[in-house]
Symmetry: C2
Subunit: 162 residues, 2 copies
Amino acid sequence: MTRLDLFIDRMVSQRACLDHAIAETALIDGPVFELGLGNGRTYHHLRERIGDARPIYVFERAIASHPESTPPDERVILGDVTETLPATLQRFGPVASLIHADLGGHNAQKNDIFARKVSPLIEPLLAEGGMMVSSDRMYFDTLTEMPLPGGAVQGRCFIYRR
Amino acid sequence: MTRLDLFIDRMVSQRACLDHAIAETALIDGPVFELGLGNGRTYHHLRERIGDARPIYVFERAIASHPESTPPDERVILGDVTETLPATLQRFGPVASLIHADLGGHNAQKNDIFARKVSPLIEPLLAEGGMMVSSDRMYFDTLTEMPLPGGAVQGRCFIYRR
């Protein structure tokens, strides 16, 4: 399996899991949190699929996305997620309908360390019935890992639900 | 269609076209030229699929790829392709079995201007029967645009043959 194969599987799985989670959480009013904007392709996908039904907040250190995928200023939460996630819990409470994270870099070991670090910061943000979609395995105490939808490849994406 | 959808189509089409072109040019001994390395996922794919059957040269301004996708120094041709492509024609002659280019950035108009600029520099490098795979439409006088293989999406990838 080549790195291109792996990457395609990851992107295809991410889309399948997001589409599934968007549908599954459609009846929850709470906001959507996108952790990491990057180029903004996934944000663009969330925005097109969710429309105005729920606000989408983007957590990022510095915005460097494609012009068509740049969130409005009032929906950007700038800073290090280890600080902005706890601050967001204070601000909103446990109301998120959907949280998506593609925080991973190239180094699987570093990704795992980071996933362990941010899992307890993400976990309290989700509303009852809310879902979390991640490209890395997360470490939650109170969320349930869900089966992946059709089209997603095992191990390339993870879904959790409160 | 979202930017994530477009991106997935582009990656899937790139892989389908490359696999097709690798097979179609397998009997030609000449080198493979990868124009633009980036993260190195496509280079990794070419290397895994072609093995030692043909040397793969990478054209790039500066190497910044994933450690698993970094070509050996003697297979890197550093510099601006408007200079390194003519120099490569002098060095090797018209011997390339396969040339792949994913030069495009976010701006479709800029990509098209660049494609027009580099097409006449790429064209003379191909051996008889050699193929060129590109994520952008190219402008060749003597090459034939080929039908895409199954799995590729029309307009997301292009194949040309001498």
